[in-house]
């Protein structure tokens, strides 16, 4: 909030569409912004975890005696201890499958087995290192395709939570690792393949990735007389409250979850992660407990699904996609987390943004003995686009059709049906392609390089549905001086949601956005919101905020009228309050809520007339140079174009596009969690897990949101946090193919993999 902006300034200029600087900018550049990372509480104990060193085994014994004997150790807690306060200590949004600390079995290397509490975190860490455990080792399964049919089962029995109706049928299922099996069946696929002029079939792979938010997972729990307060770096405080209340058997109002600014989330901090353990430790110790994970430990909490995607297309003689078959295996790791939602909500878009009359999708979430996988910026879409846009490019090149032209010939337009049966609306696919091509000068001659430096270009485009149905509530409180505070649970983790939401309130109330304060989420005061994930907030919370502000405005106008005044913003309100209450006193509360429309998929066909309230669209164009002697790639130019509807804050939209695309660049070129044959992660450190640095930036990067309007969105807007990720990986692979004529089927695109492909292509394959 910037109080230097005058309240007299009832501005005519629209608040929506204005690049308002971030509200928290000064706090962030002075080091004073609040993060839970910084929170210190009197009498706090620090928790440190002892983790499994094997991938699958029955726990025979845990020896905590040496840890307990360390001076300064308060207590050591195992899974059995937690049963004293939480008899059924299993959590998870899709399946109640994850024990707070391992019980009976361990299922991946890095799984928490015991925790040490001490006032000095160094003492707790030292003592945790003295714990030992004996296991009866069991065979383990790591690959998602193998695990789909393996006799080695990660869980004895599937335990779906009640949250999602489409998981009910899995209750009590045994002898399987399949945690969700989404199917789409549309049209006569067999006939389309039988009559196709061309058939193409490929298999693509993506690797395990970690979000590495720079504020590692951190949570504090404060036990009070008959309640508990949780301070957590969470994207989902309302869910934290709900799940902790469920575990404890308490009403929700005895659990308070609050956050501050998040030092990054990217999907890692959705649902609950370390909160159940921190709460259990605090209740057992009857003391406040803080857990701050290290960067290394983060790799054992959650990651992004590795995938295998088998894709097959039937193409007509005139270059149209008549049918597509997609088989996607999602490596969900040992616990489901929100993985099944990823494999379904993204899975139904596996055929891509194309007009395809006959489609078949099988998208399966598979348990393995690896760290859990869940939501990661894009919610599964980047893995899918990687495969279908590589595949689409191969088809175009094989048929000697320009890759841009082939896409435009098949791309979906408004009014046409997506394979799910939902009619496309406000989805500017073609315009995104046109703008990428225009910026790249697609039709102009292109310098292809010479000698050992070869240049190429590639494009790719992807689509994402929003998670639906979901609900947001918002509350606008106008004080007696006319100033407004917005209470909402949308978490600002860098996407400037507080600024955008302030703009919406300001737009409705006719005051400058800088005058609006936005609270941090605190479930004791901020109303329910499903969570900050999947680019849902601008749309869902945006509507709730708009409605709350409209509700407030109606009451403010009535209050002014009652005092014989005309509403002209803050000062008129201040006068009206004084007239009514005789002094500066009182409040006006505006409330609003929004639930998106959704029609569940038909269980037989997987189809739905209303599968998403809006579509996210993102494409990328790449120009690059390959060194044919080393396989090294230099990105010369990156063009990212999205349809974000109408931008509430154009500068923030641009940085979201850029940040998303550059994050995906790292996942394309360098990032990979590498596991040993025993399922041990070999590189849980920024030294060996390489995220992009400043030297990895393309020489030129351009970002654009096309002119568009989401007619059912708040002020025409929709979400944009993920769209920049969609096209990056396949656009780079397509450009590499264009440059040196080799095709890569697995991420990341390392110099070694490129060089091996170049050698293989000239008939001189390298030894392994």
């Amino acid at each position: 909030m910037d109080t230097k902006v005058s309240p007299d300034q009832v501005i005519d200029a629209q608040q929506v569409g204005r690049s308002v600087p971030r509200m928290e900018g000064a706090a962030k550049v002075t080091g004073r912004a609040e993060y839970i990372h910084n929170l210190r509480l009197p009498g706090v104990l620090h928790g440190k975890v002892f983790r499994s060193r094997i991938a699958h085994g029955r726990i025979l014994s845990i020896d905590t005696s040496a840890a307990r004997a360390v001076a300064g150790v308060h207590s050591v807690v195992t899974g059995e201890d937690i049963r004293r306060i939480i008899p059924e200590p299993y959590y998870g949004p899709a399946f109640h499958d994850q024990p707070i600390l391992a019980l009976d079995k361990v299922r991946y290397v890095g799984e928490p087995v015991a925790a040490v509490l001490a006032a000095d975190p160094h003492v707790a860490e030292y003592a945790a290192g003295l714990i030992t455990a004996e296991y009866e080792e069991l065979p383990a399964v790591f690959n998602e395709v193998e695990a789909a049919t393996s006799s080695i089962c990660v869980h004895d029995e599937l335990k779906p939570a009640i949250t999602f109706p489409d998981l009910k049928h899995l209750k009590g299922k045994r002898n399987t690792n399949v945690a969700l099996d989404y199917k789409l069946r549309r049209g006569d696929v067999s006939a389309a393949f039988a009559s196709a002029a061309h058939v193409f079939e490929h298999e693509f792979h993506t690797q395990h990735i970690m979000h590495t938010p720079f504020e590692p997972f951190v949570a504090l729990a404060e036990p009070l007389d008959d309640s508990v307060t949780i301070h957590s770096s969470s994207q989902m405080p309302a869910y934290v409250r709900l799940e902790i209340a469920r575990l404890l058997g308490w009403p929700e109002n005895k659990v308070r979850a609050r956050t501050a600014y998040l030092g990054g989330g990217f999907g890692a901090k959705v649902y609950v992660k370390i909160e159940p353990l921190v709460v259990a430790l605090a209740l057992l110790a009857r003391r406040p407990v803080k857990m701050s994970l290290t960067m290394e430990e983060q790799f054992y909490v959650i990651g992004k699904h590795a995938t295998t995607f088998r894709i097959k297309s039937a193409i007509t003689a005139d270059g149209r996609i008549a049918a597509r078959k997609c088989e996607v295996f999602w490596n969900g790791g040992a616990y489901a987390d929100i993985g099944p939602r990823v494999s379904q909500k993204s899975g139904f878009t596996s055929t891509g943004p194309y007009q395809i009359e006959c489609a078949e999708i099988d998208s399966a979430e598979i348990y393995t003995n690896l760290p859990p996988a869940g939501a990661f910026r894009g919610f599964g879409i980047p893995q899918l686009v990687w495969a279908y846009e590589s595949h689409t490019d191969i088809i175009a090149r094989a048929l000697k059709i320009d890759p841009l032209e082939f896409r435009r010939r098949n791309i979906l337009h408004d009014g046409q049906e997506h394979p799910t049966g939902t009619v496309m609306r406000d989805a500017e696919f073609d315009e995104v392609l046109v703008r990428i091509a225009a910026r790249m000068g697609w039709d102009a001659p292109f310098d292809r390089g010479t000698g050992t430096k070869r240049r190429g270009r590639g494009i790719a485009i992807g689509v994402k549905a929003s998670i639906a149905p979901t609900t947001s509530f918002a509350l606008v409180n106008v004080s007696a001086d006319g100033s407004a505070v917005l209470f909402c649970n949308t978490i600002d983790m860098g996407q400037a949601s507080n600024t955008a939401n302030a703009q919406l309130v300001a737009e409705v109330l006719g005051i400058p956005a800088e005058r609006v304060k936005v609270t941090q989420a605190d479930t004791d005061v901020t109303p329910f919101d499903m969570g900050t994930l999947g680019s849902r907030s601008m749309f869902h919370m945006g509507h709730a905020v708009r409605l709350a502000a409209e509700h407030a405005r109606t009451q403010l106008e009535a209050l002014c009228a009652e005092g014989g005044l005309t509403y002209t913003g803050e000062q008129s309100v201040a006068q009206a309050f004084r007239k009514k209450f005789g002094m500066q006193a009182g409040n006006i509360f505006g409330v609003g809520h929004y639930t998106s429309r959704y029609q569940p998929a038909d269980p037989a066909t997987g189809m739905s007339k209303e599968v998403t309230p809006f579509w996210m669209i993102g494409g990328t164009g790449i120009e690059l140079e390959v060194d044919t002697e080393t396989g090294h790639v230099t990105i010369l130019r990156m063009v990212n174009v999205v349809d974000a509807g109408r931008a509430i804050n154009p500068r923030v939209v641009e940085t979201q596009i850029s940040g998303a695309a550059l994050m995906q660049l790292g996942q394309t070129m360098t990032e990979e969690m590498v596991f040993s044959s025993a399922g041990e992660l070999t590189n849980p450190s920024l030294a060996y897990y390489k995220i992009p640095g400043i030297h990895d930036m393309p020489a030129t990067i351009e970002n654009e949101a096309v002119e568009a309007e989401t007619r059912n969105g708040p002020f025409g807007s929709k979400g944009v946090g993920e769209s920049g990720t969609f096209g990056v990986s396949p656009a780079i692979a397509n450009a590499i193919d264009d440059a040196v004529g080799v095709r890569l089927y697995s991420l990341p695109l390392t110099p070694e993999s490129i060089y091996r492909a170049i050698c293989a292509a000239r008939g001189e394959p390298l030894e392994d």
């Binding site: 080091g31 504020e215 850029s658």
Partner: protein, 158 residues
Amino acid sequence: MSVATRTIHFTLNGAPVSATIAPHHTLLEVVRDTFGLNGARESCGQGLCGCCTLMVNGQSVSGCLTLAAFADGATVTTVENLAVDGKLSPLQAAFIECGAFQCGFCTSGFLLMATELLESNPRPTEGEIRNHLSGNLCRCATYPEVVRAVQLAAERMA
């Protein structure tokens, strides 16, 4: 795990201070936990990300790798010292103007490094900016905006 403690004396953001420390305490822990300065933060814990950047005797260091004992007698500066009487430095203002941060967790480190750069090289080229900031990572990937902010501040300070 009983360890001997000792008292160190140093200058922190211009003021003389002292702290009782154990040999294993890092300067980052002391600055944060003893003096409540939260601008420097531990993230990777290995000196690879730059979130914990501090200035010791005018030199940037990784606070998570610098033992507090070595700061005895030194001059230590943190991001909290960049604004004077609430007035932002030209770099801080440029970071806001250019949108050179998102989550903000790494921002203190970038600001201290960029300040160090402009002190020794008031008109750096883009390559020099990238080189000097190459030890700092930003997971939100605001690198293009950071480069523009440093260029803008350099222009204004010229």
